[in-house]
Amino acid sequence: MVDFTPDEMMTIAASRLLTNEDVCFVGIGAPSAACNVARLTHAPDITLIYESGTLGTAPDVLPLSIGDGELCDTAVTTVSVPEMFRYWLQGGHVTVGFLGAAQIDKFGNLNTTVIGDYHNPKIRLPGGGGAPEIATSAQQVFITSKQALRGMVEAVDFYTSLGHGTGGNDREDTYGVKTKGPTALITDLALWKPDPETKEFTIVSIHKGVTRDDLQATCGWTIKYADNVSETPVPTELELTTLRDLQARTAAAHSGK
């Protein structure tokens, strides 16, 4: 068996959730890597959309930004940004929206806007970008996040994007949102899915070598576990090679060659 890092496990666990039929609205970083690993392994026909307007892209190298030339060169077509948000996202064609965040709570509400008060910020973060509408227009949302106490918090300082709100049916009852919302949280330590009733994220599978103490030490709320918690299958040779090759090509390209 090959060695792998927690980051690699996170990316590969996320990639496994994607299918050939998915139309993914992809963010930069771990989501981009996960989507492209899926495309290069078990889901060659997956459709990847980046908010810059590239539809059905198949980059050989991971983009640094969501608008790198590589995305356009390999896309089925490239549309304007208004069209991307109006027709493709709001129009309901995106099956999976991939989000990350600086803060996440146990219901998958995300904050990428501000730490502290909005009008008197302690740390001003980049803001929502596409997230507020990806969170509600995509048919479901996958979230990737490294576990850490400052990131996985009891309550986010700011709802940049809606998850399951205060849990249960709050998402639809309070906000009228009919899409599924967050259906998976993939961290560097575990795979989480929302409880069918409460919608609180519960751990369904733990990555190899990780203990329940490790998990709780890096999470700001008291963790709940699903009835049957399994061990996440370790990366296959193919998955790991695909991810590492992709990252090596990317590093070479971004270093200016």
């Binding site: 608008g67 304007s80 001003r124 929502g128 969170a135």
Partner: protein, 281 residues
Amino acid sequence: MSLQDAVAKYIKDGQLIALEGFTHLIPHAAAHEIIRQGRKDLTAIRMTPDIIYDQMVGMGCIKKLIFSFMGNPGVGLLKRVRDSIEHEYPRGITYEEYSHSAMANAYEAGAAGLPCAIFRGFLGADLAKVNPNIKHVVCPFTGEKLAAIPSVQPEVTIIHAQRANKRGEVLIEGIIGIQKEAVLCAQKAIVTVEEIVDDFDDMHPNTCILPHFVVDAICVVPGGAHPSYTHNYYQRDNVAYKEWAKISADRDLFAKWMEDNVMNVGPEVFEGRVAHLRGAK
């Protein structure tokens, strides 16, 4: 028209301006010219205030930002903007914040001559609580409550594009982003281009081309998008984007960099900056 003349003629202190380019075709040379000419108190719109607005904020040109994502894409935060927001250095700025979908709709509505944009947005999002310009209208057919925001209507928009022809038409291709809408929603539009050619014969019939009557100034600035890129001309300078994190993090280093690379040079330096990025693409 030279970029110096275009900025001198059209950009005035206190204006509402937009510099657009969604990762691709960002008008860096024009932003530098605005900085060099010392414009002040600008209200600056941009979906993704990245390095150019970090530079303009850091040099004190901007009093207010209207935006939806403020970061050095794929790299990190904008340290000059943060310094301005968190410590009022070199001056405090205010900001009006939206989502990408909102800004895209607001540009679209501006191009369409409408006062507002209507879309399904900000459901359960706190921005609707802190930005008083996020309102709602009710669909008269279904009763659905939809988000409403003012359309974008800048006094001047600046974009960078591949090329113009002698009739004053402008070609944009690749990631076309929000550029067409940004030009159409503005009272005046300045476009920097890589080159001017005789004509656009043999273009695909549905290519994004701006006719002459919506463009007020065309300025030839080869490399004018650097470190952003121009599809079919030169690639993105990812190394420069990564280096910016270091420059921007330090007030003195920033000041020195701006002095050397902006204040004491002119638009003609951009051509050299992209020389090593031409080729493959």
